[in-house]
């Protein structure tokens, strides 16, 4: 996953060899950048993605408030109702084999799904970047041990690891988060370590050491803020990966169990009805896809704005860009 490391905006100078880069930089250095939200608006796909996430957030916070009952209310009369208004507004996206309306289920499921993905990624981020900083800055035997640990984790098919741990710990939401976090940790660990190894050689780190700054000081004040943007882009990609992993686990029947609702579970349950009621799997599948796609698009946007070699593409408007 190290490929996702963008050329970070802290690179000492512009990519070497861009002929005019040094001069250009000298003249551009004092320029103001566009605020991030204007850069966002310049990227239509990223804007749409953010809008989608805003909608999701509304789902997450409003859905359970009003609709938890509706999401579990069995109504066999509306069994497998197709999308439309025939069974009332809540059934606009159709209903499942128990006649439970998909829209509220999707909204209630959004909370579990996003919470699992979000917490897993955050746990992996915290754990991985912490270990990665130690491995990168301290190195030595401890660093080596940490790297071997990462080797082991990454050579263990993550789905299997998840399966085993879930059998040990029961498929509870917290445990699922734990498992997914463990399987993602090594990415953060490696990326952080690689970044730390590079950043610790920078002159400002030397300057801080010359001032008497100890390892904790340097890691906190100098290295962490610089690793952050890189990790940020990975977090968004990973968010997508974790959602897909969660749904794959549900597909295999070992993830979250009913009566909890997650999107992956909805797809897994709906797949039995593909021939009769395609919407059961399609609607949550599309929700997963839209969300992972949005996360990926945002990540790609983040990579661009964090990369001085690419950022200008968003900063210049399209018309002006034409030679």
């Amino acid at each position: 996953m190290s490929h996702l490391i963008p050329v970070s905006d802290t690179a000492e100078v512009q990519p070497a060899g861009a002929v005019a880069a040094a001069e250009l930089q000298e003249s551009v250095r004092v320029r103001r950048h566009l605020p991030w939200w204007r850069l966002l608006l310049r990227d239509k796909f990223a804007t749409a993605s953010v809008v989608w996430f805003v909608i999701l957030l509304a789902f997450v916070f409003l859905g359970p408030l009003f609709l938890s009952d509706k999401a579990t209310a069995v109504n066999l009369a509306a069994r497998n109702a197709p999308p439309g208004f025939s069974h009332g507004f809540l059934n606009i996206l159709g209903a499942d084999p128990l006649g439970r309306p998909l829209l509220p289920r999707l909204m209630v499921g959004a909370r579990n799904t996003l919470a699992i993905a979000f917490s897993s990624v955050i746990c992996a981020l915290v754990l991985g970047s912490f270990l990665g900083m130690i491995a990168g800055y301290v190195g030595g035997i401890i660093g080596n041990l940490i790297m071997r640990l990462a080797d082991v984790i990454s050579s263990f098919p993550s789905l299997l690891l998840a399966l085993i741990v879930l059998y040990i710990l029961e498929p509870h939401v917290m445990n699922l988060v734990l498992v997914l976090a463990i399987t993602r940790t090594s990415i953060y660990l490696r990326v952080t370590r690689a970044e730390v190894l590079e950043i610790r050689e920078r002159a400002f780190v030397d300057a801080s050491r010359a001032l008497g700054g100890g390892a904790p000081h340097i890691l906190r004040r100098h290295i962490a803020p610089l690793v952050a943007p890189t990790l940020g882009t990975i977090v968004t990609v990973d968010f997508a990966a974790v959602m897909l992993a969660e749904s794959a686990l549900s597909f295999l029947g070992i993830g979250i169990q009913p009566p909890e609702i997650t999107w992956g579970l909805m797809v897994a349950q709906g797949r039995n009805y593909l021939t009769q009621a395609w919407w059961l799997a399609f609607v949550p599948g599309a929700a997963i896809m839209l969300t992972t796609l949005s996360a990926n698009l945002i990540s790609s946007w983040l990579r661009i704005i964090n990369d001085p070699a690419q950022r200008w593409r968003l900063e210049i408007s399209r018309k002006e860009a034409k030679p």
Binding site: G17, V19, A20, L24, E26, I316, E320, A321
Partner: protein
């Protein structure tokens, strides 16, 4: 008088960055005659490298944009040539040596291969012949044991040796014009001297013109015949190098000389140029140098000085050039 080999006339290059347009080159004009070495002297942001890149047509477009002017090389306007016509001229007629030879050489191919590629791309069918020519060139640029070193990779060469490889590659097809963009900036003085001596020698032997882009007054003085001093994207003063540097007519040239420790006697305090380099997105009206100029008058703030020929072969853009000349003389 015959037409110069290269004429850059009123060249304008803009970069679109963020909210603003940076006028990196702002109406630069210069000429290079056949067989001469012309130094383009300037600090960062003066537009000297952008001019070189524009001549080579390797500006990143976008964000860069050629906003005006023409570049006449051997009687043809480079800017209007089709890409394939231009590719034909590259390396054959005009070549470039970049500052950072390590990143300018492809790290995964042997240097001999990379030199031979020039011949192969420009019509040499036999791999063997191309390789032999490459070894010959390495020998010519003073690389010992060329047969063996041709098979080595760029990272196995020292900085000076890499720059020699770059020069070998550039002069492979005996171009009429060599553009050398800060060819020795990262190198030690002893190596710099070797490299510059070699370029000068090849130029003399081949009758090859050299456009030497540099920020080093000493290098310009030692190796060039003529100098163009650039400031804020314009050539503010041009002329024979010894004359310009001993009797500058532009206050900027003068100020540069006064801030150079090389030019000062021991114990003499340096006399830096006040203020900061020009903001290329918001150039001041009038003469772009006037905010930092000791000789600035109202006219300098009001209008941009026209190009004037103050002495034979000397060109300057300053309202008060004559006064400056007098001051220097005094």
């Amino acid at each position: 008088m015959t037409e110069p080999l290269l004429t850059v006339r009123d060249l304008k290059v803009e970069f679109q960055t963020g909210l603003e347009t940076v006028h990196a080159v702002n109406g630069a004009s210069l000429t290079v005659e056949a067989g001469e070495i012309v130094a383009v002297l300037g600090e960062s942001g003066s537009g000297k490298s952008v001019t070189a890149a524009a001549i080579m047509r390797i500006l990143p477009i976008p964000p860069a944009r050629i906003a005006g002017g023409e570049i006449i090389f051997q009687g043809r306007n480079i800017l209007t040539l089709s890409p394939s016509e231009w590719k034909q001229m590259l390396a054959r007629d005009v070549a470039l040596v970049l500052q950072d030879a390590l990143s300018a050489l492809n790290p995964v191919y042997p240097v001999g291969w990379q030199i031979a590629e020039v011949f192969r791309v420009h019509g040499e069918r036999s791999r063997k012949v191309a390789n032999a020519k490459a070894v010959e060139l390495l020998k010519r640029v003073g690389i010992p044991d060329p047969e063996r070193r041709a098979k080595e990779y760029p990272h196995q060469f020292s900085g000076g040796m890499r720059q020699r490889v770059m020069i070998a590659m550039a002069v492979a097809l005996r171009p009429r014009l060599l553009i050398a963009d800060e060819p020795t900036t990262a190198l030690d003085v002893t190596v710099q001297a070797d490299i510059m001596d070699m370029i000068t020698q090849i130029s003399w032997e081949e009758g090859m013109s050299v456009l030497l882009v540099t920020h080093d007054l000493g290098v310009a003085l030692r190796y060039a015949q003529r100098v163009c001093v650039m400031y804020a994207g314009r050539v503010v003063e041009a002329g024979p190098v010894r004359e310009v540097l001993s009797r500058p007519a532009h206050p900027y040239t003068l100020a540069l000389l006064q801030s150079a420790p090389q030019a000062r006697a021991e114990g003499e305090r340096l006399n830096p140029i006040s203020g900061s380099p020009p903001d290329l997105a918001h150039l001041p009206p009038g003469c772009p140098f006037h905010p930092r100029c000791r000789y600035a008058a109202d006219v300098c703030r009001a209008s941009r000085p026209a190009e004037t020929n103050i002495l034979p072969g000397r060109r300057v853009e300053c309202h008060r050039a004559m006064e400056v000349l007098d001051v220097v003389a005094a």
